[in-house]
Amino acid sequence: MSGVGSTEPPKSEGSGLAAAVAGISLLASGTPLKVSIAATLASLVLVLVVFELIRSRRLQERYALLWLLTGIVLVVLSAWRGGLNTIAGWLGVRGYPPAVLFAVGLLFVIVVLLHYATVISRLADQNVILAQRLALLETRLNEGLAPEPAAVASEAPASPATR
């Protein structure tokens, strides 16, 4: 489609510009159906995979909600071509509306990653607390079970084998 405009030699300054504008508007006219179908299928697969991960308890709901939101938004934007074109228009994306899919997908990936960074930080903090508590308990247990140094000295003459 883009070749049509460029192969025709410009007749004059004004009509050349008009042809170029027409070419752009042709390009901007919509999301190709194939792209829409492929993107919808890919997004649906994402939603289904997330669902199955929650169902099999490999993913907790609290960490799945962002992924589900990502998947659902992408499904809607991919399947609803008119909506994608309109949003592309709002954002000033000329020529290729599916670029908005990339932008939205990337935005969500950034948000999910940032969320994970906070989750990892919290886990790291909790891990430190757990290790400290465990070590303190172990120390208390060892010190409680070990005989007092004085008691060891006084019992030393009696052979432990006879007990």
């Binding site: 308890r57 709901e61 609290r62 799945a64 589900l68 909790q126 607390i129």
Partner: protein
Amino acid sequence: MRRIAIVPAYNEALNIGRVVDELRAFDAGLDVVVISDGSSDRTVEVAAAHGAHVIRLPFNLGIGGAVQTGFRYAWENGYELAVRCDGDGQHDPAELPKVLEPVLAGEADICVGSRFTGADGYRSSMTRRIGIRLLALVVSAIAHQRVTDTTSGFQALNRRALGLFAGDYPHDYPEVEGMVMTIRHRLRLCEVPVSMREREHGRSSITALRSIYYMVKVFTALFVGLFRRPVPPLEDA
């Protein structure tokens, strides 16, 4: 019969003493275990001073993790009957006989005290009431049984129910999913009207933004739960 009150508490130093006192006054043979969910105030010291067993979680697990700690404690120590009440004082121990009666009579495995079946109204914001009503409708449909208050933490459980929840309990906001789990495991669930009090000190942990997250999360969990195979409960050898 060995019986225990399970009281989750997060920074409830101002309320927990009275809660423990009232529980012990209600029934001298009732052991009280307070689970301090990573409290940074004097909840642990106050609860212990008032004669409760205290479990101190090293950090905040959230209500589900805290309550399940109590269920596991009760299970491992061979308790046959457990009641659960919140550490903020909104559950009145004087209402305990109402939730205990069906369980003691062997008519139910879990009995939940509901704020809404009773005559006296419970003061709450409009949006919260709508959310609670919606949850009740959905859970009633799944359970094939009418429930009115899916978020109540005022419950009595027998050992069978203890085994179920000691083995598997939802994380964030457990009461709703807990009800559905009960039904799916074919345990008998019942609901009785109780009146609850307003909390005296401090603020509830539920805010507007959290309630939206709550609804989304709970409905996701309920939906996915329909496709999930139940986890076998703990059983006595």
